[in-house]
Subunit: 138 residues, 2 copies
Amino acid sequence: MENHRSLCPVNLMTEIVGDKWSFLILRDIMFYDKHYFNELRQSEEKIASNILTDRLNMLEREGLISKRPDPAHKQKVIYSLTEKGIDLLPLLVEAIKWSLKYEPVDMEKYKPAVDILVDSAKLQEELRKQLTEDLLPI
Amino acid sequence: MENHRSLCPVNLMTEIVGDKWSFLILRDIMFYDKHYFNELRQSEEKIASNILTDRLNMLEREGLISKRPDPAHKQKVIYSLTEKGIDLLPLLVEAIKWSLKYEPVDMEKYKPAVDILVDSAKLQEELRKQLTEDLLPI
């Protein structure tokens, strides 16, 4: 079982995606086109540097994101979603739908995330294509 | 903002649903027809009693589950999903799909959760109907 609490599909998702912070990192790469550590640090939720480092390592270890050196700045690293990470898009879309129905979402501030629902199928397809292009070598 | 880290729809879902254990409790009520504390205690992931109590209180406070006295056993309490809780079904379905694609799901042991995908729309409708009936007074 490799330290899994169980091989239940719901449980496995929670173990692999991890926790609240991981969802926000995935959100930022998916909807806000953030690819650098310093960009990911800037979110409204104020993630601490050490937590961000920890979660990026975890997401990479679990195969949800990959990193490569930035050709323009050798010290910098670019983070992208893998196919496995991109495939969490429908789950995040359901999360957004649910929050819009029940919670006090700030629709202006979080327009890129809310917009995915306007024409969900079409926008998901476009976003998926764009995210997949990020996977290609520059 | 009532202590929300942000009013982002992805963030709000993670704050309200909470953590890994909350997802498992929702799973057990949704797919395993568990309605009593002692039933919810029995999951393979071995949730501790104090964590279960804490998460049930949180899910109730957030309006995802409701409780009522068991007419057959006055000391016992029956937990059911509310409409808000039932509406997390599509999110859990996406989690199950994703895990089936990428993780070592035990399909035999977790058949009720996996089966939801066989004819997802139809089964979701049936399950939703059944869960909603749980809301009615006995």
